[in-house]
Symmetry: C2
């Protein structure tokens, strides 16, 4: 689906800002600046209808003034753009520390009072507005989940532009205006985000207009870009492919005039690019030169110029609260009074505390308001994915012959995703750091290409501007694009190497916090979950070496909100399909799916996989001897994750073979968080279910995909958790063979079988032989890998031997 540009107005430039309009615009800006400062300082007397006194001042002064006037300026001009053109605009505030500025604007335009009726458009509401800011029980000081119109938290800096692009993809009618502070511009992720235009197709995607606000200072230091020459900044952005529009100065009227002109120019340029791409026969063969505005204004502009004889405005001293001593220093209080009154609040608000009607008329109406746009409340826009019947992709497993066939576990998922792409041509994307094919999801390329909006070379393989697979060598971009893509109501998957998923772990943490908070707000509709496929896992990065071997994202994610976090470790392809289907339907979750891409044994029929995923864990009776022996197990063996499950099964087979009288139960857990108590996680196994899987007292040997203590922490509070003996990754790796990885980490079948025997606590015939066999095999393994580049053939070719049922009970 290609959108068309409404060519009305394409050649009709935004009207010039005549003097009366400019007066009104500046008055609107003054109102926003006034309310910004008022939120920082006041807890009463919000319109200064009384003389300002100490008791009107908050006991603790918090907030960031420095960045706010520029944020307010941009907001006012975007309002004008929207009003004049009807353009849908999403405002991303990179300097999100300027929370009071965004709150002020959404209040002025009326959105805030609609969402939070207590903060009404009158003096009582104004009092609540100022008193709630950065107050316990009130609202946070940064742009955050409660801020209307935002999809972007203002705390951890670096993601303004990547979020902007993620929101613009597949939203052809949307313009994302992204303010980037020059502090944030120093972060790696932000510097890496400018290249988003190389993946933005004007025929189908919206536009991103970055507005780089150079106010020259961070908290205590000059900024790097603030100290570069104008030519260097221009070259830097031009090198990224942008056309640079400069707006500079501290003359209020001139800067407003210039910004209005720059914004109109930028908007026209964007529409021209879109028009060219969307007109019949229009094509995109190279990255268009998109506009960027550089706005160089003083930090803390219009605030106190000098405090106690030291310049504040235009310096780092304006970063937070420029007048810190107002409660105890009468001079500061007087200065604050003068500053606040300089905006002439009596002319901005009427007797009832309402914004003057001629100013209120400047804001757009309804959902066109920046604070009310549905793009920032993506759940309102979310359509369920059209998902094909997953049974069309499942492997055909004969329950009489499980674990006999190897298959690349992620390949059927790739086929499912191919058809998800086919059936959802504008609402689904996969993001991957250059690893789609490597991760066996290549079937997707049967229906779409990789996206690159740049000259295409004959040697390129399935790369085009119309491609919908997002491959870029940056986990930050993949993660951030998907975050914004889902927060604005679309669906997707981030498929990546397990170890390098840690690169963007902090973003995942912040996104989890966002979803956790969002779910508490009635007005935010649930959004599609963020799905992360961790593949090329530690156990099968034997060939790549230690740096590629790290299952640590699980440990990073486990402590986060139980309302949001889901961790799935499907043991085979059919269970991965079942889990993926569930995750693609889910809302407001962060789903980690951990499944390796290499060939692995396959166990479950489609129906079994569905049931297994729904339960979170099951007894695999076919692999144990408990039923045949007809007595409680001597030992429970548990596999969690594909490779450890294979080792658990191989250990079970060794035990069946050598110690046939041992009663074994084999369990598989697919839903890691189910190990938590059900009062701690919605997926937690109930006590009866936990008992049904693991008994009450029997020892349990666990083969786990990740760091072993990750399981122990989940089991605390369960009955007798010391009986759980977990073997997992213990940070031993190198370039070696798959089986050697298991041996180094002491989680091989031989280790697990020995452990099971050790903890079975009863003596059975065959025990000694089994122990000897395990030691012999480990010793053979060590010899073999010295001479070969592959694992012992009998290990490599191991399959589950279903011809060897457990013997009849001997009693």
């Amino acid at each position: 689906m290609t959108a068309t540009v409404d060519v009305d107005g394409l050649d009709r430039p935004t009207p010039e800002l005549d003097e009366p309009s400019l007066d009104r615009l500046i008055a609107y800006w003054n109102a926003a600046n006034y309310l910004t400062a008022a939120q920082i300082y006041l807890r009463a007397n919000p319109l200064l209808r009384e003389p300002l006194r100490r008791e009107h001042i908050k006991p603790r002064l918090l907030g960031h003034w420095g960045t706010s006037p520029a944020l307010n300026l941009v907001y006012a001009h975007l309002n004008r753009l929207v009003s004049l053109t009807g353009q849908d605009v999403l405002y991303v505030a990179g300097p999100g520390h300027g929370g009071p500025a965004l709150v002020a604007n959404t209040y002025l335009e009326g959105t805030y009072s609609e969402i939070y009726p207590r903060v009404s458009a009158d003096t009582a509401g104004l009092t609540r507005l100022v008193e709630q800011f950065s107050t316990p029980g009130g609202i946070p000081s940064h742009v955050s989940v409660p801020t209307p119109g935002s999809i972007h938290e203002g705390g951890e800096l670096g993601y303004a532009l990547v979020h902007a692009f993620g929101a613009a993809f597949d939203h052809p009618d949307l313009l994302v205006a992204a303010v980037v502070g020059d502090g944030e511009a120093e972060t790696g992720p932000l510097e890496g985000s400018w290249k988003g235009i190389t993946f933005l197709n004007p025929a189908r995607d919206g536009a991103v207009l970055p507005i780089l606000n150079l106010n020259q200072y961070k908290i205590a230091n000059p900024t790097v870009l603030g100290r570069r020459s104008r030519d260097q900044v221009t070259a830097y952005l031009a090198g990224h492919g942008y056309e640079v529009l400069w707006v500079e100065g501290s003359d209020v009227r001139q800067v407003h005039r210039d910004f209005a002109a720059a914004l109109a120019t930028a908007h026209q340029a964007i529409r021209r690019i879109q028009h060219a791409a969307r007109r019949p026969g229009g094509t995109v063969t190279d990255t268009p030169t998109w506009p960027v505005i550089v706005l160089r204004t003083p930090k803390g502009w219009t605030g106190p110029h000098e405090v106690d004889g030291v310049q504040v405005e235009g310096t780092f001293r304006a970063h937070q609260v420029p007048l810190a001593g107002v409660r105890d220093n009468p001079e500061h209080l007087a200065q604050l009074d003068a500053w606040l009154r300089s905006y002439q609040p009596e002319r901005l608000f009427d007797a009832d505390g309402r914004l003057a009607a001629e100013l209120a008329a400047l804001a757009p109406v309804g959902d066109k308001r920046l604070g009310a746009t549905s793009y920032a409340n993506g759940g309102r826009r979310t359509e369920p994915l059209r998902l094909p019947d997953r049974r069309a992709y499942t492997l055909d497993i004969d329950p009489r012959h499980r674990g006999r066939v190897s298959y690349e576990t992620t390949r059927p998922l790739g086929e499912l995703l191919r058809d998800v792409y086919r059936d959802n041509p504008t609402t689904f994307r996969v993001f991957s750091p250059d690893e789609l094919t490597s991760n066996r999801l290549g079937a997707i390329l049967e229906v779409t290409d990789r996206c690159m909006v740049a000259p295409i070379d004959p040697h390129d393989d399935r790369v085009s501007p119309s491609g919908r697979v997002m491959e870029v060598l940056s986990e930050h971009l993949c993660q951030g694009w998907l975050e914004a893509y889902t927060l604005t109501g679309r669906h997707g998957l981030f498929a990546t190497y397990e170890a390098f998923a840690m690169v963007s772990a902090s973003m995942l943490v912040q996104h989890t916090k966002w979803l956790q908070e969002g779910a508490k707000l009635g007005w935010r509709e649930p959004v599609p979950s963020l799905n992360v496929l961790l593949t090329s896992t530690c156990w099968r990065n034997d060939h790549n070496g230690f740096s590629h071997q790290g299952p640590g994202l699980i440990d990073t994610v486990v402590p986060l909100s139980p309302g949001v976090i889901r961790i799935w470790l499907p043991p085979d392809a059919n269970s991965l399909l079942s889990v993926a289907d569930h995750c693609l339907r889910s809302r407001d979750h962060v789903n980690l799916l951990v499944a390796d891409k290499q060939p692995h044994l396959q166990y479950l029929t489609a129906a079994e996989a569905d049931e297994h995923a729904a339960r979170g864990g099951s007894v695999w009776d076919w692999a144990g001897t408990e039923s045949q022996l007809g007595r409680d197990p001597d030992i429970v063996l548990v596999g969690i994750g594909d490779v450890p499950t294979m080792e658990i099964l191989a250990a079970a087979q060794l035990l069946r073979q050598f110690v046939p009288s041992l009663s074994i139960r084999v369990v598989n857990v697919i839903d890691l968080m189910a190990l938590l108590r059900s009062d701690l996680h919605p997926h937690g196994f109930s006590n009866p279910m936990f008992r049904a899987l693991f008994t009450d007292e029997t020892d349990v040997v666990v083969g786990f995909h990740g760091y072993s203590r990750g399981v122990h922490q989940l089991l605390h509070g369960r009955r007798n958790p010391q009986r759980f003996h977990v073997r997992g990754f213990i940070e031993q790796g190198t370039t070696t063979t798959p089986f050697d990885m298991l041996v180094r980490n002491e989680v091989s079948r031989y280790h697990l079988a020995r452990l099971a025997i050790e903890f079975a606590r009863t003596t059975h015939p065959g025990t000694d032989r089994l122990v000897t066999h395990c030691e012999t095999q480990l010793s053979r393994h060590h010899d073999y890998i010295r001479d070969h580049l592959e694992d012992l053939p009998e290990i490599r070719n191991w399959t589950w031997d279903d011809s060897q049922p457990a013997p009849e009970p001997s009693v």
Copy 2:
């Protein structure tokens, strides 16, 4: 100390590359290319003295050919530069996947055989060289710890340039040549690293010469920079402040000639910049325009141009193993044979398998060899820090009046660090994302400035090119600079907000892996530890809100190598000093120091703090009633971390007050990893020590700084760990008050006291009153924070009441 440039040769350009020299240089390059391919393919017959047969081929073909010829070209030319000028050079291979290239070169120059004598400079050694590559028991396929001359792992991409700058700081005689691949150039951290020159002072620091290798492709996709126009790439780099030298083409002789010229030009430019800065009276007032070389050559250059009718050379298909079917496809085998022989190995190596003498003469000698430079084996260069006596900074604590005085815990550390700066003017730096003063380390600015090599403004505060505090708004840069600074033998500290330390968590993981592997190699000398101060912690980011509240780095780090990881949670300023002193002396560790910057109660005398830190944990008898009551404790209270320790003490005080007959033991743990069993971590408490702290059976209530299950995972395997009831961060946050943070996370004194009563298991008079008191206080708190911006005064002003000793035993 300012280094002087050896002006010899400053105006004497590197001699032009005459034709015989060019022939030799290309022959050397051929030898490196040959050995690179040989490592990927061969396990025998390394010089093709026999016809190439299937059995000479490795069973599994691994490695990355595509990037290797360019890496080899750069190496050969750097050799020439070093030989001609004596310049010390450190080679950072950003495309570190090209491991065989770097191994080949260090072998050719002789370093490899010196370090690994089995891989000798003869045919037997060559056989070992090829057979060990990417082989179990052999060496990894990427540049990694075993690679001589490297400080930079080639797995997780993005850090080549940040490591280069970190190595160059305070190494005035060093040139770091950093090859950046155009794949890696897409990562955020790499894009963020170019600005390193704004922090590089040519008067005292070495130089970084980035060499951007545009081979246009990643694994499966074109690269973004590869598809930009030459003008755009030039503008991009010029915008970052560089002068761009282009070398392009596929004509072997011409590219070599051009590269030699570009390298000579770059080197001259660097020396001119240094000379200007270092001559008497020379100053630096702006970022010098440093050179960068852009080398655009075909991917997999000199390899098979076409395979099975499809072009490989110059495309993404050359990324890894360009001829994959050589074991089973005779045509491929023949093509490999022809490819390898195209380098004329018979002319490169003599009959004994030694590199031809006229080629061997091209390499530098001794420690000037890139593989032998001491800069890449920083332990060889490490001098112990001159550390002042920490007693000069300790707070004077009267043991009769503990916990009565509040003090900013990190402030005395700042004073210590100030004097560390003073006494170690070229070997110590603190790195911080614009938070030095905010984190109360501002005393450092009494002796040095913040570093910025850019125009300084009168409003700047303690900013200058000669400043030695590294503040930049990028955790990636702070972390990466410090990694390289320590790996090249210097000392430092990364001080950062706890929550945002997650931004660079993956780098910390990779650095930990590096140290773990390095400690196994006899030839790598121990290097200074990487010290990370996590301050502005979750409990005291009440004012900043939820995004700033995250103690997750602990969970990320805990599972890593016990040989490397140390996690310290000093409860007060004196213990922080003691721990910091220890960490600054330590080697090969990653030390996390978790201590908040806000005012906190102070408890320990300097001597006690030292003893406490050395033990890892102690009974704080003064806070319990066990001794007075003269019987075993009914409950053990444990504080881990500053804020939870205060709450534990306050809970103890409540218990003493309300339930005087209760026998309480109060314990503080400062060394988190000591909770692990001593067979699992070198710091683990011995069983007797564990018992002496926690008893065998008594219930233990723990107030923990981080996520509570982080403690549970460590306790698995300890005696009866279910008796440990841990309260910590449970991911509940917002903008609120310090005490409310504790209430939301159920770790307040009232929660802890109730928990202690619940688990004390005996009934004592006063229990009910205590429970009622706790509930009343929590309810008052909820009411109070609705009306105030601060905590209840009696909570805010709480101190330890030492006037209230426990009563005499009642029996």
